[in-house]
Amino acid sequence: MISLNSKIVHNFTTDENFVLKVEKNSQSINSCLENSNKFETSYGSFQFINNIELEEGEILIIFPKYNFIERFFRPNANANTILLTENCDQKCIMCSQPPKNKDYLYFDLYEKACVLLPMNTFIGISGGEPTLFKKELFQMINKVIEKRPDIKFHILSNGQHFEKSDMDDLKATNDNILWAVPLYSSSEVIHDLIVSKKGAYKKLYSNLDYLCLSGSNLEIRTVFMKTNAEDLENIALKIHKNFSWLQVWAIMQLEKIGYAKMNWKSIFYDSSFNFDPIAKALTISKIYNINAKLYNFPICTVPAQFRSLAVKSISDWKQKYLDDCKNCLVKNDCCGFFEWYDDSYKNVRAIN
């Protein structure tokens, strides 16, 4: 696994948190240069306690008081994400990151770091529920895109907190944000049950009106489980008749950690063994031109005619391949498996 943060030893002349960019040829105040395992910056030098190799172009956030760095942006990563908070007002039965009362609200640092990003970078913002801090979040994004209109954000949100008064912010940021919002069932009762919040479905529906009217980009995410497997067709039809303006419908396999691990037996549906419910939903999506994608589905678990929809969705730092994958011809296009995968699929095999 790739470490996303690390302890350091340093001789910084400041206690204030700051942002750095790993750059060989730059005189910028933010640049940081490697010199035999030591990194030189304009505030002094630092060294990792663990063995971490930084990439050229990486952006770091430094917390001198805590002797700690966050690797904010790695150029070769398939996704770079800001974890804003671990607080959430929903408690989904398959949550891979159960809520905790912890926030990481370094908006100033995130803004400074974003300004240093390469052209056209996509930055994820996730939680917990990021829109619990929507005021600060919109402020930060507005500041970033004022300087860097090319930067785009992919925000994972439960969609519960938008209000009419957010319309101006939503409109101002609509070119720069893709909102990834979960819809788990075509039935109010089941959706509310899955997210453990009464009224969540109704709230979600009325809030998606705001996203539509503000011209926002929408990704609807549906985690595929025993609980909604037979309902997946109906969700496809719901999307066609209510949200045909969306950008992506992501059907997602489970990540066996957190609550998902706890509830595994009652929720995991082995799509490698029976893909039918998904095949039906995908066919409906094609009939109505809904841009459906499969996240977290290893390619070998997907029938041939749907393989092109399987996205390399698992972040590199928590992704692994199995021994058998060495012989697979499509390994490079495949999302692989979560680090914590443990033989849940009946049918996994190298494709050749």
Binding site: Y205, D209, L213, K241, K280, I287, N289, Q305
Partner: protein
């Protein structure tokens, strides 16, 4: 409860109800009357809400979804994204129904010259589009591979995401051309009229040219595969339509565009009977579709017919506005255009032919002098069906389109009732076909409709939500 505007049409003694967004369902006469009288029970109301025929409040999700799809159906790009270029008018064949846009191979003065090329560079450098598709028409464009290369270089210099389709009779296949074809953004479109004899009679004339064409087509397919090449038949003998399909299947093609001989140009004189005879075309087309459907049902080699596929997409995929013969609005001089051998602009390839035979002057500018805005505006006054007094009553209005060039070419005027025109007649027929099949729910039809829409051939009926029984 307020109903959004809707239209209806009788299909197989059921009623098809459609709206501007393209939503549709079937119901019986009783429910049609209930709709008309707004006598709607809660179950019907909830069905109508789910189908975007009504809404709970302004800007709710049904309203938004409806509006979005209406907008998407009507949206046409403001930038040019599709150009037909005629680098030369010269051709080395003399096809029986050539749509006149040709001169003999040895005539001088019918190719793009240096000045045209420079003006083209100026034109393409000013385009704001991010991607463009260029179709080389003729004449026979492969008579000037050097010109093709130059045009491709100029275009990709300014618009890196460019695609090129060379429409060729495949009589030439020099190493220079093969080099050109091996570029991944270059494609080939050719004519294959059906059985060898037909192709010979209509196009290649003698044994040598015919064998040459067939050899070259096979060589191209073997070298580059079917993704590289598409073929179009021109059907003059409607009785032969199954043989045309067989020929395409034998070659291994998975797409076929069944179209009757075009009306424009000399073809009008040589094939007068068939080009008028819509009812015999419809009969043959119907036979052909059934033939293809049965073939697909039993064979692993699946084929899709273009009219059927495109009409389905017009129904199910709002925003399928890529086929410019079937969309509305269909403004000229907006997102596509023809540039002739002398740098003259025409709105469509048909209008270029009509201008050339002197029927009407449809040039809308040139590389040298730019657009003739007032003429474009004049042509565009009626280039949409939204206000046509006949179309506004039609349940297929939002799926259909408008083609005034075709009207002028057939009737010398656009001012005749739509339902009397070839355009309306054939398209009504194509849509009737589809809705009849959806309403009949026969396995073989569902199998092929699924296949044409999604490439997944299955008898699972996913259209249940379109029946209100």
């Amino acid at each position: 409860m307020e109903l959004l505007p809707w239209q209806f049409q009788e299909i197989n003694s059921k009623y098809l109800i459609t709206n501007e967004a393209g939503s549709f369902f079937f119901c019986d006469e009783n429910n049609l009357k209930n709709l008309i009288n707004q006598n709607i029970d809660p179950i019907f109301e909830s069905f109508l809400l789910n189908q975007n025929f009504t809404y709970e409040y302004e800007n709710d999700m049904s309203w938004n979804n409806f509006s979005y799809n209406v907008f998407k159906r009507k949206k046409i790009d403001h930038n040019i994204n599709y150009l037909i270029l005629v680098p030369t008018l010269r051709c080395n064949l003399n096809c029986s129904y050539c749509q006149v846009s040709r001169v003999n191979e040895n005539v001088l003065g019918y190719d793009w010259d240096e000045e045209t090329l420079n003006l083209y560079e100026r034109f393409i450098s000013m385009q704001e589009t991010k991607q463009i598709k260029i179709e080389f028409q003729g004449g026979e464009p492969t008579l000037r591979p050097d010109l093709l290369k130059k045009i491709i270089d100029i275009t990709t210099k300014y618009i890196p995401q460019s695609e090129f389709v060379i429409c060729t009779n495949l009589s030439n296949l020099s190493t220079e051309l093969i080099d050109l074809y091996s570029n991944s953004n270059v494609f080939i479109s050719t004519s294959l009229d059906g059985p060898l004899l037909t192709h010979k009679n209509q196009r290649t004339a003698n044994e040598y040219q015919t064998t040459n064409f067939y050899n070259n087509l096979e060589e191209i397919i073997n070298k580059f595969g079917f993704d590289k090449v598409s073929a179009l038949p021109t059907i003059t003998n409607f009785n032969e339509i199954e043989k045309v399909i067989d020929e395409y299947a034998n070659f291994g093609f998975t797409n076929i565009f069944l179209r009757p001989v075009n009306f424009q140009g000399f073809a009008r004189k040589s094939f007068k009977k068939n080009s008028f005879d819509t009812s015999s075309w419809k009969k043959s087309y119907l036979r052909a579709i059934d033939y293809i459907f049965q073939r697909n049902f039993i064979s692993d080699h699946k084929m899709k017919e273009f009219n059927f596929e495109n009409s389905l997409k017009r129904i199910f995929h709002p925003g399928s506005n890529g086929f410019v013969d079937l969309r509305t609005p269909n403004f000229h001089g907006r997102d596509y255009m023809v540039i002739d051998y002398d740098g003259t602009y025409y709105p469509t390839d048909e209008s270029r032919m009509m201008s050339r035979i002197g029927l009407i002057d449809m040039n809308i500018g040139s590389l040298k002098n730019g657009y003739n805005e007032s003429k474009i505006n004049q042509l565009n006054i009626n280039q949409f069906n939204e206000t046509d007094p006949d179309c506004i009553h039609c349940a297929y209005q939002q799926y259909c389109g408008v083609d005034n060039v075709d009207m002028i070419s057939r009737y010398n005027t656009i001012d005749i009732p739509k339902f009397e025109t070839f355009f309306c007649n054939t398209n009504m027929f194509y849509f009737d076909q589809i809705f009849k099949r959806i309403s009949q729910k026969k396995d073989i039809d569902i199998f092929n409709i699924n296949g044409h829409l999604t490439d997944i051939f299955t008898t699972d009926n996913y259209f249940i939500n379109h029946y209100y029984d």
